[in-house]
Symmetry: C2
Subunit: 311 residues, 2 copies
């Protein structure tokens, strides 16, 4: 469905701001608690948190993150899941979200209805309260920005920092071909997996793969080291080349590092018992960036290799 | 300064996403803590909160909330202050914010620099940590969306609900002429005033005036009553008509209700001691919507009157 109405019917400007907000409350149903916990006051009031807070924000923009071929419910689901993946990457659990909409006056009410229903279905599945937001007019645009507040597990927050030379690099699921396969809106955020990994003392750091392994892995790489990847081990989505697995992005898998002296087979066994349907694969390790190796790009790409977008 | 560069110089696409994020960290200075508390991880990690959380979001959109005549530093300040006013309206204190930018590729780097410096100056003044965000491309647009997380005072959250028939209506500061006077970007969010009012047991409910008193007061009005306003008492900005004070909006003053049997002179005295430079004015009360009065609009507009946008 194209989000803009071609004629005078089904346009959001017939509802007006007040009518739209009332409709959003209906569409969100019980995922939006009554005020002041939900829509209807100056701020949403949240229960006292037990742990540290986690805050993240991501938008979906018409023409960038989706087009008229994506079902509006899938756009709503993707908007929330992109943010859930960031909470997963810290080992946290989600709590509440606010959504800011910037809309052309001609936006279809039926598009907005399906978008919010997709949001609500996803929120229900992952226990997120949709507590408020803002509606503004922006000619020619359709942008929904979701801010998600989560909570860290009592014991530990897993950040991007902490890996050392010699540490292993592991990734969940399979990489590549996210756009062509529809994975980019059908993916399952790795929330349970993230919390499990954050409780394992041998896991040192974590992030989610959103811009592609080749780009994202740099953020976990300790100073003075380089990631040496076993290209054959990188778990690819069926039909994907290595370049696609390294560079496509929108994988929303977890990328983590495991201390060099960890018992990998014990980690793998425990993982398989808990998550039998999701692979966890060791794809390489961080090796010292030796003085004899000033230009990693010059090395041949076989076996343990430097991370490059084009092998 | 117009936010779009007319030529090939000073364009944000010369920086790229990574360069822009690095520049934003520099511009924000010490208002952005090191990761994972600030920019640089999948989520920002926040210290454990003491009280209940408060969450609010508001954008500024080029062409709607500002134009090329407003200094970019004032746009940044306004973006944060709009949200601070919502925290003030609950009697809370602000903690941390994330900012989502949606930008045309030709956006001026110097505009973004001054915008972020304005944001940072305001954040420093009100003790807000600028902890993260997102940067995305949106052709032809410039939208900054800020989500602010605050904390409720331990004792009480002041919501929009709670007023009863007979209760007084009070407002801080002066109303009207916000756009023509520049108040809409020069205003001071009433944070200290909001916390003070939330600690007064005779104050029952509160909100901020952003869409104009005439529209906003409906949200505080208890069922079965109507606001009867003393039009002569409504504090107007110098040179403003009553219509402007009722309808202009963007006042960012606090509107609250006070229980009918409160000792108003004691409340006024205590207020003046604490806030000698800011008026707190009783402007009316809620009266029963009697059966003999089905169409409030038909009443003559003198003395205590119905709320109407055009007196």
């Amino acid at each position: 469905m194209h989000p803009l109405a071609p004629g005078p019917r089904d346009r959001v400007d017939a509802l007006g701001e007040g009518g739209l907000i009332a409709a959003i409350r209906r569409w969100l149903g019980n995922t939006c608690p009554p005020p002041p916990a939900g829509i209807g006051d100056d701020c949403a009031v949240l229960p006292r948190a037990r742990g540290r807070g986690l805050l993240t924000v991501d938008p979906v923009i018409f023409g960038r993150h989706f087009d008229a071929t994506v079902a509006p419910a899938a756009v709503g689901a993707k908007l929330l899941k992109r943010n859930l993946s960031d909470i997963a990457a810290m080992g946290g659990r989600p709590r509440a979200a606010v959504i800011s909409l910037c809309l052309d006056r001609a936006t279809r009410v039926s598009w907005l209805r399906d978008f919010h229903r997709g949001l609500a279905t996803t929120a229900r599945r992952y226990g997120v309260a949709l507590v408020g937001g803002d509606v503004a007019e922006g000619p020619g645009v359709l942008i929904a920005t979701l801010t998600l507040l989560g909570e860290a597990d009592a014991t530990r927050v897993l950040t991007r920092a902490g890996a050392r030379a010699g540490d292993w690099i592991a990734v969940t699921g399979r990489l590549g071909g996210s756009l062509s396969s529809g994975h980019h809106h059908r993916f399952t955020p790795r929330l349970a997996e993230g919390r499990w990994l954050a409780r394992r003392p041998e896991v040192r750091s974590m992030m989610d793969v959103s811009d592609g392994l080749a780009k994202d892995l740099a953020a976990l790489t300790p100073r003075g080291t380089r990631p040496a990847l076993d290209h054959a081990a990188i778990p690819r989505r069926s039909g994907c080349t290595l370049a696609a697995a390294l560079g496509d992005g929108e994988d929303y898998e977890l990328l983590c590092t495991v201390r060099a002296r960890a018992d990998l087979s014990s980690l793998r066994r425990a993982w398989r018992r808990r998550f039998p349907a999701v692979p966890l694969t060791i794809i390489g390790r961080f090796v010292p960036q030796s003085a004899s190796d000033p230009t990693p790009e010059a090395l041949p790409v076989t076996g343990y290799e430097h991370l490059r977008a084009t092998p």
